[in-house]
Structure formats: C-alpha cells, structure tokens
C-alpha cells in the first residue's frame, strides 16, 4: 500500500505543478484538434511556437483521435466546452458541425483563403486541403488506373485497400466521390469495385500501413501522400493516380466556438492560420496543400504531384442529409456475396 | 503375468546419480516377506523404491524381480503394485472406476472384473462405496481404497511409499492390521518405505537401512532393533 501512496503523491504533485504553470497571467488559448496535428511530426509544436511568439499567450492543444472524435467531443461538452477553437473538422462533417449551434461566425477577413472549388464560409476558415487519390506502388503497378471508372472496371486481381465510411473520413470521401461520379448508379459501381477491394480498414493508418508493407499495390489516400515519401524518404516509388473525371476534395477547417472565453485571441489565431507563418508549416508536417499563400515556394516534391483538373465537392447539406442512406447503400452493395 | 505368485527382488550393483547425490544399492529382498526400507529423510529410501517401481532408471546394474530382469521395463510391465502416501486416487473419478483402472487401464471390464472390484472394496472395509468420489472419503478410507486397487491388480510385489504417514496414530495401527491381514491371505512380497519405528516393529520381517545412498544394514527386524554399534542406526532408534 505504501507504494500506492508514493505514486498518488507524485500524481498530485504533477497536477499541482501543472496548475501553477497555467496560473501565470498569460492568457491561454484552448484549441481542440486531432491527434496527428499535435504529434511530434505534425504541425502542432511549430504552430504553437510561432503563434505564441506573436500573441503573448499560451496555446493549449487538446487532441482527440480524429476529426470525427473532435465533433463528438464538442457535442458531448455542449455549450460549456472549454474550447476556444476547433481545428480539424472537414467538409464531410461540416453541416453537422454547424447544426450543433456551437460555432460562431468567425468574423475575420478570410479573403486570403484559396481553395479549389471556391470554398467560402462565414463560420469555418479553411487552413489546408487535399484531393483524395488512389496511390500506387510503381514497382508493382505499371498501368495505374486513369479514372475512377478505370478503377471500378479494372483488373480485380490488382487489389486496393480502402477505408470504412462508417468509421473514417477518407472512407466517407471515397463514398462521396463515387456518388459524385456515378450518382444513382453508385451501388452498381460499388458492386464491381468490391472485387478489387482487398480489405476495408477502420481508418487511414491501417490501410496505408498495409500499402507500405507491400501487401496491397493500391491504397485510397491523398494526392499529397507521395510528397511525404519524396521529401522524407527520398523516394518516388509511391505515386498518385491522376483521374480524368477529377478528384474529390477534403478541406480542413477551423472554427470559433460560441462559448469561447478568449474570443479576440481566437480570432487572431484564425487570421494567423491564413498567414504565411502558419501556412509555411502545413505542407511538410500535415502533408496537405496550404489553403493560403506561403512565404516561399513549396518543396520541389509538391510540384511533381498530380494536379487535379476538376474538383468534386458535394454540398455539405446534401452530404448531411444523405450520409446515413448512402452508407447503408454502400453496406448493401459491399456485402453481397 | 505371474498371478498371485510370490517373487523375490534383487538389486545387483545398481548405481544412479541424481544431481549431486549418488546411489549404490546391492541387495536382495525376500520372497513373501514384508521388508521395511528405513533411514533418515533424504537418505535415498524413496529412490530405492522408485528404482524397483521403474520411476528411476539405473545408470548401471540390474534389477530382477521373481527371476525376471525388469531393468528395461516400463513401470506398468513390472510385476508390482503401488500405494503412495497421498494422491493415490483420481479425485474426479468414483471409487469403482479408480479401482477398476487397476484391472484395465482402458476400463474394458468383464462381468467378473466388476465383481472383483466390489469384492476388493468389501475386503478393505469399503463395501458399497463404489459410487463415492475420493473427496467425500476420510484419509484412512482413501488409503483403504488404494489397497483395494492393489488387491485387484494381483501383482506379486506390493510397493508402499510411506502409506500411513498422513494418517493419525490410531488409524495407522488399524491400517497396519489391515495390511497384515491382506498379507496373510495373499502372501505378497511387500516392500515399504517408512520412517516410523513403530511400523517397523509391528509389520516388518526384514529391514533395509539406507544411509547416504547406500544400504548400511540388511537383515532381520530383531537384529536391526538390537543394533547399537552402528552410529547412524542407533541414533535413528533412539530418536524414534
């Protein structure tokens, strides 16, 4: 039992210590985000340092697993959430996030935001975007699919790993992409694509892990994924397949919460996300495209990436209204033997 | 099988090393007699018994039972039955099954075998206990059941490893009487490990005294009890 006491003492001491640090007169900006944003390799640590240099405040990140969990967390906490800003929602969660009534208009000049598909909103501020794409391994795939139709109709022995739309946003992205291209014929497309799907993973990480392990030659990911391998691993082995129909886009946004205690600070942060100081960090840490001007040109690798000719984005209202029905449709099409 | 026959036991220059301990036995054990193996704990009493039973294999020497060299034989092929101090019965099986296993280890029983099991239970004073589980019996009753199994096996040699050590003194003497009675009827050769001098007095015809892995005395019980010259034996006699 003595051991227990020592540990609880340490725990108490840590909590007290943490409390005193917070008790300094500096204001604290609380930002809810997803885990990979704040990880050691993510943009979080640099963003925090850069913003704290200008604001005389402390940035406190609270990270949950992913964008979906972020929204859940806000719903659970309701109006009394300690968050000032939610950073990391994406276009597919957009409407539901707004419907919670927890967000306030951002009230900043967001004219600097440049996102394909002319994204404009008075509540959410985009900070980066990425087109979804099928990534292939050049060592095993000599003729990558040239379009979504090509992917659907192609050789079923060349497998792809995709994500589950019930548990992940890329999964939902593919679902919407197929819907945008095939419309009412989406179930038939899925029934065909099903034969090509090696497996459906709960999240992006599992599918991408299978891909880099060499288990599957195709994976559903982002146009920007090859940039990571080119910059960090100095290899252009993994490439995105450019699809003729165009690519579905994911725009990541942040928003100001109605209950924010540091409203001014939060607005300053939102403006900051559109400044080069923030945008410079994004490409090589979050591996997404910057949503506004950067101070320098992007690394070479980014110029080698696929540039989608057309951008798909279903309206948030349409997505929110039909998501459950479409997921059900997907389930049915994918479950047929 | 040598049904009901008597057999003598010979250990010829049997040598064995277990870790640091070395054993050397050379003796003969008389046919139809009760021989007690005794000595201080750790002296090698049980090892001697295990060699005869076949649980230990000698590194040198031969073991002969009833004229047959059994050195290479599996325990089940030797003409011996066994009763341990404890755990003689499978607790999850009833008495009938436990004893019947002595007749057929795969429990293929003829009608006569079933009668023999019941008769053996009767002889040890457990008539009608066929369906009882060992857990519901007293320590003495469990040992009686173990004797019953030895009876149905009808092997010429019965090996006992401190069979009464776990019982209280009053029960010990009752059990000793039972053993003598069974011995009178069947005339089996009995080899028993014991550290209880009272048991030696009451049961043994002959005594083997084991000291540091060797037999330092082999002879008649009365000669053993009269030993006063050997340091270890007289000390053993005084202590007990």
């Amino acid at each position: 039992m003595r051991k227990m006491n020592v540990f609880s003492l340490i725990a108490t001491a840590t909590v007290l210590l943490a409390a005193t640090v917070h008790a300094e007169d500096k204001k604290t900006l609380t930002i809810y985000t997803y885990e990979s944003f704040v990880s050691k390799w993510g943009p979080g640590p640099k963003v925090k340092a850069a913003f704290e240099k200008t604001c005389d405040c402390t940035v406190k990140f609270v990270a949950v697993a992913d964008g979906v969990a972020l929204l859940t967390r806000l719903k659970l906490e309701g109006a009394s959430s300690p968050a000032d800003i939610a950073l990391g929602l994406d276009t597919s969660l957009f409407k539901e996030a707004k419907d919670t009534g927890l967000f306030a208009p951002h009230g900043i000049d967001a004219a600097g935001a440049k996102v394909p598909g002319d994204f404009k909103d008075d509540v959410f501020v985009p900070y980066d975007y990425g087109h979804f794409a099928v990534i292939y391994d050049t060592q095993t795939v000599k003729n990558p699919p040239k379009s979504l139709k090509d992917l659907v109709d192609g050789d079923p022995s060349q497998k792809i790993a995709i994500q589950d739309p019930r548990t992940s946003t890329p999964g939902l992205g593919l679902l919407l992409w197929v819907k945008a291209v095939y419309g009412d014929k989406a179930p038939e497309a899925w029934a065909k694509l099903k034969n090509r799907v090696l497996t459906v993973t709960p999240g992006w990480s599992e599918a991408y892990g299978l891909f880099t392990k060499g288990e599957v030659p195709l994976v559903f990911s982002y146009v920007t994924s090859p940039a990571y391998h080119m910059v960090e691993e100095k290899t252009d082995r993994y490439q995105a397949a450019s699809f003729e129909e165009g690519h579905y886009i994911q725009v990541e946004v942040s928003g100001l919460l109605k209950g924010a205690k540091e409203k001014d600070l939060a607005q300053r942060f939102l403006s900051f996300t559109l400044s080069p100081a923030f945008q410079d960090i994004i490409p090589t840490t979050n591996w997404m495209m910057p949503a506004a001007a950067t101070s320098q040109a992007l690394p070479d690798a980014f110029s080698k990436l696929v540039k989608p000719q057309k951008t798909f984005l279903l309206s948030p209202e349409e997505v929110a209204q039909n998501r459950q029905a479409w997921v059900r449709e997907w389930l049915t099409a994918m479950s047929i033997k | 099988m040598k049904d009901g026959q008597k057999a003598d036991i010979l250990l010829r220059e049997v040598r064995l090393a277990l870790g640091e301990q070395r054993f050397h036995f050379d003796c003969s054990i008389g046919e139809g007699l009760i021989t007690a193996i005794t000595g201080r704990s750790g002296s090698g009493k049980s090892t001697l018994l295990n060699l005869v039973a076949g649980f230990e294999a000698p590194q040198q020497g031969r073991i002969v039972i009833g004229g047959q060299d059994v050195t290479e034989l599996h325990p089940s092929e030797r003409p011996v039955s066994l009763v341990f101090q404890d755990n003689n019965l499978f607790t999850h099986l009833d008495l009938f099954t436990n004893i019947a296993l002595g007749i057929s280890p795969s429990l293929r029983l003829a009608k006569e075998d079933r009668r023999n099991v019941s008769a053996a239970l009767e002889r040890v004073g457990l008539g009608g206990f066929e369906t009882r589980k060992p857990g519901t019996l007293s320590g003495g009753e469990r040992q009686r059941a173990a004797f019953a199994r030895a009876l149905v096996r009808r092997r010429p040699v019965l090996l006992l490893d401190e069979p009464f050590a776990a019982l209280d003194p009053a029960l010990r003497s009752t059990m000793a009487d039972l053993l003598l009675e069974l011995h009178r009827d069947d005339g089996t050769t009995i080899l028993m490990v014991t550290h209880d001098l009272e048991e030696v007095r009451r049961l043994a015809d002959e005594v083997l005294f084991v000291e540091e892995g060797r037999i330092s005395f082999a002879g008649k019980r009365d000669d053993f009890l009269a030993q006063e010259t050997s340091g270890a034996i007289s000390e053993f006699l005084r202590r007990s």
Binding site: K3, F7, A11, V15, E35, S36, V38, S39, V62, A63, A65, V68, A69, T72, R73, K75, L76, E77, S80, E96, D164, R166, T167, V197, L198, T199, V200, T201, P202, G203, W204, S205, E206, Y208, G209, L210, K213, E215, W330, M334, S335 | G19, A53, G54, F55, H74, P75, S76, V80, L82, D86, N87, F90, H92, L93, L101, P105, S106, G135, R153
Partner: protein, 537 residues
C-alpha cells in the same frame, strides 16, 4: 476456518469491490443514457443489427472453438515433454501476443499469411498458382487464433502442471496408454480449465474490432462493436449505441452461462511443486507427434512475431528508442501499466478472498451464494462493455467534476484495471482456492492471522501466481490503446498511442520499432510471471 473478524473483513472487502466494479461500469452507461435522452432519435434494432449479431456470434464461436482445439494438443505435447529444448521460452513467447497492440499483430500476421506473405511466396515457389487469401472469415479466424490460443495454452498448462506427481506415476504403473492417460488424467484436468479459457476467448473475440475490419475484407464482416463505435462516433446516437451494447452483453452473457454449465470445478489437491516427470509418451510415434505439434505451434506463433522483430530492427530502431518522445511514452506506459496491474491484482485478491470465504462456509445462505456468484460473473463480464461506451460515459461524468484532462491518467488506470480483471481472476482464483484448501486448517489451528499469515504462509505460495497475474495485467495494459484514445491530450503519450500516431503520420517504420519494443517488454514481463518455474529442482 477464518476468525469471525477476518471473514467479516473479507466479505466487506468483497462488497466494496462489487460496488466498485458496478460503479465503474454502470455509472458511465447511466450518464450516457441521461445524455441520450436529450437526443430524440429512433434507436430501434433492425435487420442490419441482427445480421451484425449473427456475424459477431458466428466468428466468435468459431474463433473460440479453433483456439481451444488447437491449444489442446499443444498443451498436451508441451506437458508431456518437460525437457523439450526451449520449452520455457515457448511458454513465455505465448504471453507476447497479449501485449501487442492489435494492429501491430495484424501487420505481423499479414507479413506471414498475407497476399505477399511468406506462406504465399512459399506456395508460389512450390508452383502453386492460387495464392491463399486471408481476407474474410479465414483471416479473422487466423488472427483470433493467433492472439488467443496462447492464452488458452497458458491457462491449460497451469492446470496440468498442478496435477499431483502421483497421477503420472499411477498412470504409468497401471499401464495406461496415451488414450487412457488422456481420458482419465488429462481430459478431466483440461475440462476444468476449458470453460474459463473459452469464456475469456469468446468475450475477446465477440468484442473484436480492428482485427475484424482489417482482415474481414469488407463490411460483410462487421461486429456489433463496430456498430456501437459507429453509433457513438459517426452517427452520434448514444441511445442506439447503448441499446446495442446491452444487446451484446445480454446475448454473450447467455452463451457464457451455457459455457459455465460445463463440468463444474472439482477442487483438487495440488502436487508438491516437484518437477513433473512423465513416464509416458516415450514411443517414437508419440515423440514425433509431440515434436511436430510443438514445432507447428512455434512456427505459427513465432513467424508473425519474427516478422515484427525483423521489421523493427530494419527500421531506425536505435534512433527511435533514444528519442525523448519515446522515453516519455515508455515511462508513461510503464507507470500506467504498473499502477493498473497493481490495482487489478489487489481488486482480484479482494474478490477472490470474499468468494473463498463464502465457499468455505458449510452451508452458505442464499444471499451469500448470490453475492459470490455475482462477484464471479461480474468480474468477467466487464470485458463485454465496449471501451468506447465506458470512455464516453466517464467523460460525461468527469467533466461535471472538473477539467477532464486532469483525470485522464486515473481513468485510464481504472479502465485498464477493469479490463485485466477477468484475466487476473483466472490466475488468482484457482491458486487461492487450492492454497486455502491445503493450508486453511493448519493456519487456523496455529492461529496465524492477519498480516503475519500473509507474510509467512500466503506470500510464499501465492507469490508466483501473483507475479504471473501482475505480468498478465501489465501486458494487457501496455498494449491497450482504447482508453488512452478517448482521453488523450497533448501531454499524455503512451507507447500504443505513439505507435498509432506514427502510423497516422506516414511513419510506419517508427511504428515497426515501437511494436518490437512492446513485444520485448511483454517478453520481459513474462520473466516475472514464470521466473519461479526455473528455480524448481
């Protein structure tokens, strides 16, 4: 056999433990229900729910059956060959899958059995065209067997090794052949371990999530647990999530109740701890069979682990293990694991002791029997409460009290403690039972009570099972991501969290290193659990 005061204390402890377990599981459910009442959504079951239930049960039943059926020959072979080279290390290796994050294990399995895996490469080299596909039910079963048959083996080996030495000698002297020994000695002993092991495995498989999705090959392979996660996360329909969680608990509990009707636990005397020496199985066919079985089990167990080790060593292993963030994650993980293991063992002891007190009464009153039974079943049913429900519910409760991130470490410890409880109970309950059966009278007659009883009598004997239980609980906690994911904040980094985080940031090589580390730690932990075995003469 205990003094009145001791019995009272033990029962009081049991009541506290029962209240604690109920509170930890029921409070979050209630909190979620209260919260859900604010969202008037329809939350009825439909055909989809029942198809999920059907698949959940199907794969869980098959996985359990296979795990047990494979574990039986392996256990028998390992017990019949006490001198098999490396036997102790094989048994230790069996503890590793338990402490691996599921995804790491799955990737290891894929390296072996996947499309590009070793097995398929070998088949291709042999000229067989059709590669083996593990995606689908096959893959789920392979993975579940990989994770669970070692658990079944360990539980069954413990029972066989606990048999009195005399049994094997009797078997030998009565001339029992392999089949008779199996029928009269081994099988009855195994049957005592199988219901418990099968129950645990069934619960683990019924609530499986990541493995089912990754290896299932498509949404046709979906468990209720996935749907619960979906309802709570993506659809945000707490009422539906809870309804499904209750369905899962109810149906699974029914199956467990059926399992518990299998042969009752027949308390046995323990041997004297001497090294088991077996007289049987000396024939050549038996030797070849045992060796073959052990080798197959070894290959099946070690190939995926070797794949993990190989991948880990090939990556920038040294760089990872010396990085500050790794050291931080390691110390956090170890501290959490140690505390939750400590708490879990304590809780399990209290529960086991209370049940023992009831069991030792000649004629326990009905209420006492119900109390003991509910302690027993609750301490295993906790596995069925989806972590996402526990986490979300506790989140709702704690945020009423204060800043949630302050409670994250304690709540993770509590949830990990609870999840390890069924495993720890399986180890401690029988140990305590047989220990009491042997020493209760003596201890009572000598009047040894309280702390000195612990110090003089109990600790010596229970030390080894306690250490084993502790290492079990620590391994489970080390590999657990669930609880951390719910409460994570920027300062709280554990090893599985770091592993998933690396994977989520394209750094799969870092993840390989971390998986290797976790595997090594688990292997190290089993040294605690099995250290005593070696020291026996």
């Amino acid at each position: 056999m205990l003094t009145q005061a001791e019995a009272r204390r033990a029962l009081a402890g049991g009541i506290v433990a029962l209240t604690l377990v109920i509170a930890i599981t029921a409070l979050p459910v209630l909190a979620l229900l209260a919260f859900a009442s604010r969202f008037p959504e329809n939350s009825g079951f439909d055909a989809y729910t029942f198809s999920l239930l059907r698949f959940t049960l199907l794969q869980a039943v098959l996985s359990t059956l296979l795990s047990i059926l494979i574990a039986i020959p392996v256990t028998l072979a390992l017990c019949r060959r006490p001198h098999f080279p490396g036997r102790l290390w094989i048994i230790r290796l069996m503890a590793v899958p338990m402490g691996l994050p599921v995804l790491a294990g799955a990737l290891g399995l894929i390296t072996v059995f996947g499309r590009q895996g070793i097995v398929n490469q070998a088949l291709l080299a042999l000229g067989l065209e059709q590669p083996l596909s593990i995606y689908g039910l096959t893959g789920i079963l392979i993975a579940h067997v990989f994770f669970n048959f070692p658990l079944a083996c360990r539980l069954m080996i413990a029972v066989l090794e606990g048999l009195p030495q005399e049994y094997w000698r009797l078997g030998a002297s009565l001339g029992m052949r392999s089949w008779s020994i199996f029928r009269f000695i081994e099988l009855p002993a195994l049957l005592r371990a199988i219901p418990g092991a099968a129950g645990l495995i069934f619960m683990l498989c019924a609530t499986s999530f990541t493995l089912v999705l990754v290896l299932g090959g498509g949404p046709a392979a979906t468990t209720l647990e996935v749907a619960i996660y979906q309802s709570l996360r993506l659809d945000f329909d707490p009422a539906r999530a809870i309804a499904m969680a209750l369905l899962q608990i109810l149906v699974t509990a029914c199956i467990l109740a059926l399992l518990s009707r299998l042969p009752a636990n027949d308390p046995m005397n323990m041997g004297e701890g001497r090294r088991i020496s077996r007289m049987d199985g000396q024939s050549w066919p038996a030797r070849i069979w045992d060796t073959g079985v052990i080798m197959c089990a070894c290959l099946f167990l070690s190939l995926p682990l070797l794949a993990i080790a190989w991948a880990g060593l090939r990556s920038n292993f040294l760089e990872i293990v010396t990085s500050a963030i790794f050291l931080q994650a390691l110390s956090t993980s170890l501290a959490i694991a140690m505390l939750s293991a400590f708490a879990c063992v304590l809780l399990a002891l209290v529960i086991a002791f209370a049940r023992q007190v009831v069991a030792e009464r000649r004629a326990p009153p009905r209420s006492a029997r119900i109390f003991s039974a509910s302690l027993g079943s609750l301490s295993s049913l906790v596995l069925l409460v989806p972590p996402v429900v526990l986490g979300t519910g506790w989140f709702l409760i704690l945020r009423e009290i204060g800043e949630v991130s302050r409670f994250s470490i304690p709540i993770i410890i509590v949830i990990n403690m609870l999840m390890a409880l069924p495993f720890v109970m399986r180890v401690l309950q029988p140990a305590l039972q047989s220990h009491r059966a042997r020493t209760a009278r003596l201890v009572a007659s000598l009047g040894i009570t309280g702390f000195s009883r612990w110090r003089i009598v109990d600790w010596r004997v229970l030390g080894q099972p306690l250490a084993m239980a502790f290492s079990f609980a620590m391994a489970l906690s080390l590999g657990d991501l669930g609880a951390v994911a719910m409460f994570g904040s920027q300062d709280l980094v554990t090893l599985p969290w770091l592993l998933y985080s690396s994977l989520g940031s394209y750094r799969s090589h870092d993840a390989d290193s971390l998986a290797l580390i976790l595997g090594l730690i688990c292997l190290g932990l089993t040294l605690i659990g099995t250290a005593e075995r070696e020291m026996r003469p």
